[in-house]
Amino acid sequence: MSRISGGQIDRSKTLRFSFDGVSYTGHPGDTLASALLANNVRLMGRSFKYHRPRGVISAGSEEPNAIVELRSGARQEPNTRATVIELFDGLQAQSQNRWPSLKFDAMAINDRLSPFFAAGFYYKTFMWPAAFWEKIYEPIIRRAAGLGSLSKQDDPDTYDKGFLHCDLLIIGAGPAGLSAALTAGRAGARVILADEDFRMGGRLNAETLEIGGASGADWAAKTVLELGSMPNVRLMPRSTVMGAFDHGIYGAVERVSDHLAEPLPGKPRQTLWRIYTKHAILAAGATERPIAFENNDRPGIMLAGALRAYANRWGVAVGEKVAVFTNNDDGLRTVADLKAKGLDVTLIDARKGDEIIDSAGRLGLKSITIRRANGQTETLHVTALGVSGGWNPSLNIASNHRGRPIWDDQIAAFIPAPESIAGLTCAGAAAGAMSTHAALTTGANHAIAALADLGLNAIADIPQAEDAPLNLTPAWYVHSGKGRAWVDQQNDVTVKDVKLAKQEGFVSVEHLKRYTTLGMATDQGKTSNVLGLAVMAELTGKSIPETGTTIYRPPYTPVAMGVLGGRARGHDFKPIRQTPSHKWATEQGAIFVEVGYWLRAQWLPRAGETTWRQSVDREVLQTRKSAGICDVTTLGKIDIQGTDAGLFLDRVYANTFGSLAVGKVRYGLMLREDGMVMDDGTTARLGQNEYVMTTTTANAVPVFRHLEYCRQVLWPDLDVQLISTTEAWAQYSVAGPNARKLLEKLVDQDISDAAFPYMACGAITVQGTRARLFRISFSGELAYEIAVPTRYGDAMIRALVEAGREFDAVVYGTEALGVMRVEKGHVAGNELNGQSSALNMGLGKMVSRKKDSIGMVLSQREGMTAPNGYRLVGVKPVNPSETLTAGAHFLAKGAAALAENDGGWLTSVVYSPHLGHSIALGYLKSGDNRKGERLRSVNLLANTDVEVEIVSPHFVDPEGERLRG
């Protein structure tokens, strides 16, 4: 019978759960750990390296041993601390890192072989023969490593994120946090009180101490109730503040649904809150630390405060015969509380020279061996042992900005240094103020100080509470015997390992941790780091603060990857941008492709077409033969106005723009300041002081940013105003010999060649609707781009298709667009790779040296103008039936496939239905004077080797007669 009277569990309700397939019962308010202990289950896990049987040692998030796989199937959650799992009906948990069972674990052989597995042994062996590492040694190591398993199935739950803003964030709802919240809340400040526990109150829930004449737990409950009634206070239980980031931003994970069998519909499993606060108070309490002795890791041996917590909060006696081993007065509280619960308790007080030198009990504690101060040893039969080596302030968050904690001799522990983090102060045990009175007082005082900064007056109202000193005499480990005394229980780091690290020169705390893996387990060394330091300090004869400090990085406790990702997963990873013709294209069965965030029609299959090539070939041929329509809305559009707009364009484009007439469009080449090509596009002059620039789809945002930079930072007195109009206009390209005839059916104006020549632009109307028309061509055909307000985009594509019916016009997608631009020799993404200059692209003459423009000067550096540099060329296979591959490299005939023979590469390859064979663009060294040469296009990844001829990149209509037609 382990359940005893009292505690904050609801005994009127029974919850069923199972562990390793065995069914048990517990009550609301239980954790998995308390419920298992109540069912006399002490053995809960196995250690990492030696597979030692382990039980729970703590009652909180610092737990290193009792970690289990929670739930099953796709919701299986490895390495979950039984001490923080809130019990729910139907809970299933399994032990991990054991085979075949928790009680009989074959891997426990490692424990017998432990002398061979000393710290760092793997750095000294497994080196011969070299080939054995990946094949033999490493697979064994990898299989043995790790604790729990993931299901390898998609996580079925959803996660959410949000932002909260407050004046004061209080981390931890123990006496200090509650006192701070109450003080600040009553003063009217916006307060967030976050606590990782599902029940606020912190240690008060685990103690029998009184506050203001009531039990501490009752005072906490009453305070929480009052805070809950304040509209300016937000209580966040089940919320772990994971870290402190810059400028008062804290991350907190709220476990919204982890206490349920599964989340309610529409609700997330967890929410990541980014809390923006003016001040923060860290009131996270303290974590008890053990004293190391031989075989101090058996199930049933736990921290004294945890033993007391299980009795007081959960009504669980871990054993009827109990011992307490302590070096401070807090241990005496455990003795008193357990005795009050009617248990048989023996005190071993290290301050009197009494020590525990060994324990026994393979799967659970059966006895301890005590060595009294007078040297006599005795064996005591107990099934539970509480150990207290003192308390370490939970200063983790305060050291997130790498501020070094300072040593406090009074409590023999590190406390946070003041100003470790701007805007954060520490209160209560987290600051080393260990009594209840000190917690209440420091909490209130820090709240008052924080509020004073904000101009708010707050008043402290401190109830009566104990103010007893800890009376601690440091004792870190028991010097006795040849056996192992555990420092880091999960990772199986013992006092001997620390000694070995010292012996081999791994003395600094960083080396110690890395060499022995001390503090690297899932508990992040919460109970072991300071102990490890203390052992090293003793070995080196230095003080602990001289030996090193221990600082903590986020997160405070491990955080699920899912909650950090939030809503952004699957199709919601990034938003989708739909083009104006999306609805129509979907109706046509178009195949879509991701282009940045856009979805564009890649091709539009017609009945009977079974391969993408059939569709694309048809789209290209029909466009060149008659007319084709393409949604080109995705190109960036930037409205540029102002009396200096022309001058501005001259600065940002390498070629000349000032001379562009109203009603005309010009191709523009934009360089980065380093002289490489940034982007290209066309800019139309719509009015005296009004231009519209188009960018490539990919660079719409960076170009706009760059233009704002030029306008505000470089030339702040130019009269230029910018705004993006990419989304405002639905824009369609209409190309092909019948393009004009097609458009003439729709537009209300004269667009004959005389009225609207090549490179003309202007405002028109389409059946009365305002529109813009640009006579520009990417395909090389007679072509226009027509833009209407986006709301008419759907109607426009339907009108174009309807008007095109008599010409058998096609709508083409990005593939056909790509084919036609390669046929025409226009550069696009694969050529605009950020590594290429205008000269590389065959556009060197466009860079005007008669004016200063971005990139002009640096484009003239010797390495960028060398005659043997890459130049854009056209490529065709000598044998037209052979296929080219983009990314294949040029080699001379007979040349070996070695870097020194590398002539360049094919950037873009398409099948030209017009020419009936594969064609390509490429960058070839000295390519501008190698037309007619025969080379090889070699793709070593597919073992293809094709003889090619270097040709002009303009495969179709090199004289440009069609587009002027």
């Binding site: 299989r143 931003i249 991701e594 590469w905 793709n939």
Partner: protein
């Protein structure tokens, strides 16, 4: 004692005496286990500075230690010291994502990284330390035709430079990692570039292995010795001013990664680089999930699983100049978003630790290993966040430059003047903006 024959081997020290150094082996581990581990010696001496050396390497990170090691071992130089402001291996070699690969594109880079890969392949036997060089393969996923074309170009360049590369299609990727998001993705996986010889290395062990190897060859490893300035007269460096006093040197080699600008400012130089923080993350230990290394092509996320079973995860740099070894949440979230999009099964894996390292982000994303205009002063830096994989070759070629005053054949392009000459080595094509590389 018979055991001596495999335990110790004699080394000729710089002053001409023979010293016995401990050789690590499985036999040795067993022998020590049976005798209570009494025989293990410090892996390296904690040396005090002498008045002067022939070579001072500033920076006891991976690159600095490797430089000292190769100077002594390959180039037979002596009177070498490594000075380190903290503890060795505490910089980026101790805080990275442990990936090694030679999947570079450009002529200036690929021979160097392939040289590095070959050094990794023999490293453990060379320095007698198990650094767990593990060639389990790296795949770079692609999601668009443009990415495929770029990887085809890259893969061919790799092979032409003597490295290995394969282009995998979607089904081949699915076979390797069936739990990736193939069917419900915002950016579907189309395939991957794979380098089978890529993999991971136990990063701390690299520093320790080089330190031990260098120490055995007489190099003084001087910890807790911060370089405060350079003593330069008549255009020649005479030594370094340190927190432990002046130390004279004929040649000074600087290999301090994120602190490059600070240290070289001591010699009056401005560098083409900025310091940025790169965060990385490790999960709780999990039973084997991911065999090799994987990079996501549609987000900032890459992952491998260490031999200690944690998932080691990285993403993009935070993006602002900083010398603080810590980052902020937006990048953490960005990485997790990428991870959840690529492999939705990791939702329930928990991140255990996050940390930040300071990267010397150069203006073209590639390093500089060169002499300076000051005689006797040499510089090695600008590694961006690719420094770890370069460690062996970086040490080797820097030692070559220090010892011979000419660049090693694989590092001829890593010059200071490449920016003036317009010969940038810009793998990503981002231009002179360090945070984009």
């Amino acid at each position: 004692m018979k055991a001596q024959s495999f335990r110790l081997r004699p080394i000729l020290t710089q002053d001409g005496t023979w010293e016995y150094h401990m050789r690590y082996s499985g036999f040795r581990v067993i022998a020590e286990a049976l005798t209570g581990h009494k025989g293990w010696k410090p892996a390296w001496r904690d040396a005090a500075p002498q008045a002067a050396y022939d070579y001072i390497i500033v920076g006891g990170g991976g690159h600095g230690l490797a430089t000292a090691y190769y100077l002594a071992k390959e180039f037979k130089q002596a009177r070498i010291a490594v000075v380190e402001k903290g503890w060795i291996g505490g910089g980026n070699v101790g805080r990275n994502t442990t990936i090694v690969r030679s999947n570079y594109l450009l002529d200036g880079n690929q021979p160097f990284y392939e040289f590095s890969m070959k050094l990794w392949e023999g490293l453990e036997q060379d320095f007698n330390y198990n650094a767990m060089v593990s060639q389990r393969g790296i795949i770079n996923l692609f999601h668009t035709d443009g990415q495929r074309d770029a990887y085809t170009r890259r893969g061919n360049a790799m092979i032409m430079h003597g490295a290995d590369a394969e282009l995998l299609n979607k089904e081949q990727v699915r076979k390797m990692y069936p739990y990736l998001n193939f069917d419900n993705a915002r950016f579907p996986i189309k395939g991957a570039l794979m380098q089978r010889r890529g993999g991971t290395v136990r990063h701390d062990a690299v520093a320790w292995g080089y330190a031990r190897g260098a120490d055995q060859r007489g190099v003084d490893i001087i910890q807790n010795c911060e370089v405060l300035g350079m003593r330069i007269e008549n255009g020649r460096v005479l030594g370094v001013e340190t927190s432990r006093g002046f130390i004279g040197a004929k040649k000074v080699g600087v290999a301090v990664a994120g602190s490059s600008s600070k240290v070289m400012a001591g010699a009056g130089m401005r560098l083409p680089m900025e310091s940025h923080v790169l965060q990385a993350f490790v999960s709780e230990g999990l039973k084997p999930l991911i065999d090799g290394v994987m990079t996501y092509g549609a987000g900032h996320f890459y992952v491998s699983q260490s031999d200690k079973a944690g998932l080691v995860v990285g993403g993009d740099i935070d993006g602002y100049n900083t010398y603080a070894q810590r980052g902020n949440l937006p990048v953490v979230e960005d990485v997790a978003e990428g991870g959840m999009s690529l492999m939705p099964m990791i939702g329930r894996a928990r991140l255990l630790r996050m940390w930040g390292g300071i990267m010397d982000m150069s203006m073209d994303g590639s390093p500089i290993i060169d002499k300076t205009h000051i005689a006797g002063l040499y510089f090695n830096g600008g590694w961006c966040y690719g420094g770890f994989k370069a460690t062996p070759a970086s040490g080797f070629v820097f030692a070559h430059l220090l010892a011979k005053d000419t660049p090693h054949s694989t590092a001829t392009a890593y010059r200071f003047d490449r920016f003036a000459k317009g010969l940038m080595i810009d793998e990503k094509g981002q231009g002179a903006q360090p945070n984009l590389h």
